[in-house]
C-alpha cells in the first residue's frame, strides 16, 4: 500500500509530468487559457493515460517474450492512436453527454507526448501492472493540478500590465517557470513522508 501511495504522490507532486518532465507542454500552453477547457482536457488525458497504460503494459510483456522489444515505440504509438479513435467512437455513440465534454479534446491527445511518455516510463521504471496503473493515474492527476493552477495564473495575467517585449508567449513561459519553481519545493517531500 505504501509503495502505491508513494508512486502516486511522486507522480503528482515531485515528478510532475508537465512541470518537471516537460511532457505535454503543447496542451499546457495552448489549452490552459480558460479553467473549464483546462479541466476538460485534463480529464480526457487522465482517462486516456490510464487506459493506454492498461493496454500497453500486457502488450509490452508479449513483445518482450517474443524477442520483439525493439518494436515498442511503433506498437505503443499505434495502439494509443487506435485507442483514442475507438474511445471517441464509443463515447459518441453511447455516452453523448460525456462525449460533448471530453470527446472534443480526444483528437488532440493522440500526439500528446505525455501519454506515450507515461506508457514508456512505466516500462522503463520496472513497475508492476498495478504500480504502473497508479503511476498513470498520478501522472494524469498531476497534469490536472498543473493545468488548473496555470489556468488560474493566466487569468490573473490577462489583467496585468506586462512589459511590451514580454507580451504574449514569452510572459506565459516566464509564468510557467514560476509555477514550476513552486513545484520544486516538493523535492524530497515524498521521501520524507515514507522514510
Amino acid at each position: 500500500m505504501k509503495i502505491f501511495l508513494s508512486i502516486l504522490l511522486t507522480a503528482i507532486l515531485t515528478n510532475n509530468y508537465i512541470l518537471s518532465k516537460f511532457l505535454g507542454i503543447c496542451p499546457f500552453l495552448g489549452v490552459s487559457k480558460k479553467l473549464n477547457t483546462a479541466v476538460g482536457m485534463s480529464a480526457a488525458v487522465i482517462f486516456v493515460m490510464v487506459l493506454a497504460s492498461a493496454v500497453t503494459y500486457p502488450l509490452n510483456t508479449f513483445l518482450e517474450n517474443n524477442g520483439l522489444g525493439y518494436l515498442q515505440t511503433i506498437v505503443f504509438i499505434l495502439v494509443i492512436a487506435a485507442l483514442v479513435q475507438l474511445v471517441e467512437i464509443v463515447l459518441r455513440k453511447y455516452i453523448p453527454a460525456l462525449y460533448n465534454s471530453l470527446g472534443i479534446y480526444l483528437p488532440l491527445i493522440t500526439t500528446n507526448c505525455a501519454v506515450l511518455g507515461v506508457t514508456i516510463l512505466n516500462i522503463d521504471s520496472g513497475y508492476t501492472f498495478w504500480q504502473s496503473m497508479v503511476n498513470s493515474l498520478g501522472a494524469g492527476l498531476g497534469f490536472l493540478v498543473a493545468m488548473v493552477m496555470f489556468a488560474g495564473v493566466r487569468e490573473r495575467l490577462e489583467s496585468c500590465n506586462v512589459p511590451k517585449f514580454l507580451e504574449g508567449l514569452p510572459i506565459t513561459l516566464v509564468a510557467a517557470s514560476l509555477v514550476s519553481l513552486s513545484f520544486l519545493g516538493f523535492t524530497g517531500l515524498v521521501e520524507g513522508i515514507f522514510a
Binding site: 512541470l19 518537471s20 518532465k21 516537460f22 511532457l23 505535454g24 507542454i25 503543447c26 500552453l29 495552448g30 489549452v31 487559457k33 480558460k34 477547457t37 476538460g40 482536457m41 525493439y70 518494436l71 515498442q72 515505440t73 511503433i74 504509438i77 499505434l78 492512436a81 472534443i104 479534446y105 483528437p107 488532440l108 493522440t110 500526439t111 500528446n112 507526448c113 506515450l116 511518455g117 514508456i120 516510463l121 522503463d124 517585449f165 514580454l166 507580451e167 504574449g168 508567449l169 514569452p170 510572459i171 506565459t172 513561459l173 516566464v174 510557467a176 517557470s177 514560476l178 514550476s180 519553481l181 513545484f183 520544486l184
Partner: protein
C-alpha cells in the same frame, strides 16, 4: 504554395524565417527537456533532424499511394519506424547519449515538428523539395536547441560541452539546468526572437493551430481551445 519558390528557399526558410522552435513554436517538449546541457541538446537536435529528413523523403515519395483518409496513421508509422532505427543506432554507438536523452528519444515520434512537416509539406511536395525542407527544419531545430542548451549549461553549470568556461569565482546558477530555468530561458529567447521579428515587420510567434498537425481533424479548433486566440485577434 511553394512550387514556384527555389529549392534553396525550401532549405533556408527553416533556419530563421520559419524556425520551428522560435517562430512556429513546435516541439516545445524536447526543447525544454533536453537542453540541460549542450551535449544532449546537440544529440537531440541531430536525432530529430535525421528522422525528419528520412520521414519527409519517404512520405513525399509515398504521397500518391497513401489514401487521404488514413494519412495521419500512415505518417505515424513511417516516423515511428525511423525513430526506432535512430533509437537503436544511438543505443549501440552512443550509450552515454542514450542515458541522457532517456525517454525523450522514443518521444521524437510525437514531436509536432515531424508530423507537422509531413502534413504541411512532404504530403504535398516532391521528394527533393521535401528532403531540403526537412533538412532546413532539422538544422533550424538543432540550432535553436544548441542556443538554448548553450545558455542553460553556461549559466547553470558554468561550462560548455563539459569544459569549464566561467571562472571558479562565479558560482553556477543551478536553477538554469532545473525545470524552471528551462521555461525561463525559453521565454526570454522567445522575447528576443519576437523583437527581431518585429523589427522586420513580422508578426510575433504564437502558439496556434497553424503548426498543429491535428489541425484538420481537430474539432476543438473553433469551439474551445483556440477560442482564446481568436478573441485576442478581435481585440
Amino acid at each position: 504554395m511553394a512550387e514556384k519558390k527555389s529549392l534553396g528557399h525550401e532549405f533556408s526558410k527553416g533556419l530563421i524565417k520559419e524556425n520551428p522552435v522560435l517562430r512556429l513554436v513546435l516541439g516545445t517538449c524536447p526543447t525544454l527537456a533536453t537542453t540541460t546541457s549542450l551535449e544532449s541538446a546537440i544529440g537531440m537536435g541531430l536525432s530529430a533532424a535525421i528522422v525528419l529528413v528520412c520521414s519527409n523523403i519517404v512520405i513525399s515519395a509515398l504521397r500518391k499511394v497513401i489514401p487521404q483518409k488514413v494519412r495521419i496513421p500512415c505518417y505515424i508509422v513511417v516516423i515511428a519506424g525511423f525513430v526506432t532505427v535512430v533509437q537503436m543506432l544511438v543505443k549501440a554507438f552512443l550509450p552515454a547519449l542514450d542515458q541522457q536523452l532517456g525517454v525523450y528519444l522514443p518521444l521524437i515520434v510525437v514531436n509536432c515538428i515531424i508530423l507537422g512537416r509531413a502534413e504541411a509539406f512532404a504530403g504535398k511536395n516532391g521528394v527533393v523539395a521535401s528532403a531540403l525542407d526537412g533538412l532546413g527544419m532539422g538544422v533550424g531545430f538543432t540550432a535553436a536547441l544548441i542556443l538554448m542548451g548553450g545558455v542553460r549549461e553556461l549559466l547553470g553549470a558554468g561550462s560548455l560541452l563539459g569544459f569549464q568556461i566561467l571562472p571558479e569565482s562565479v558560482p553556477p546558477m543551478t536553477i538554469f539546468v532545473l525545470a524552471p530555468g528551462g521555461f525561463f530561458v525559453f521565454g526570454i529567447l522567445m522575447a528576443c526572437a519576437n523583437k527581431l521579428a518585429e523589427r522586420k515587420g513580422k508578426p510575433k510567434a504564437k502558439l496556434g493551430c497553424a503548426g498543429c498537425p491535428m489541425a484538420e481533424t481537430c474539432t476543438v479548433a473553433d469551439k474551445a481551445a483556440c477560442a482564446g486566440e481568436k478573441e485576442e485577434k478581435d481585440v
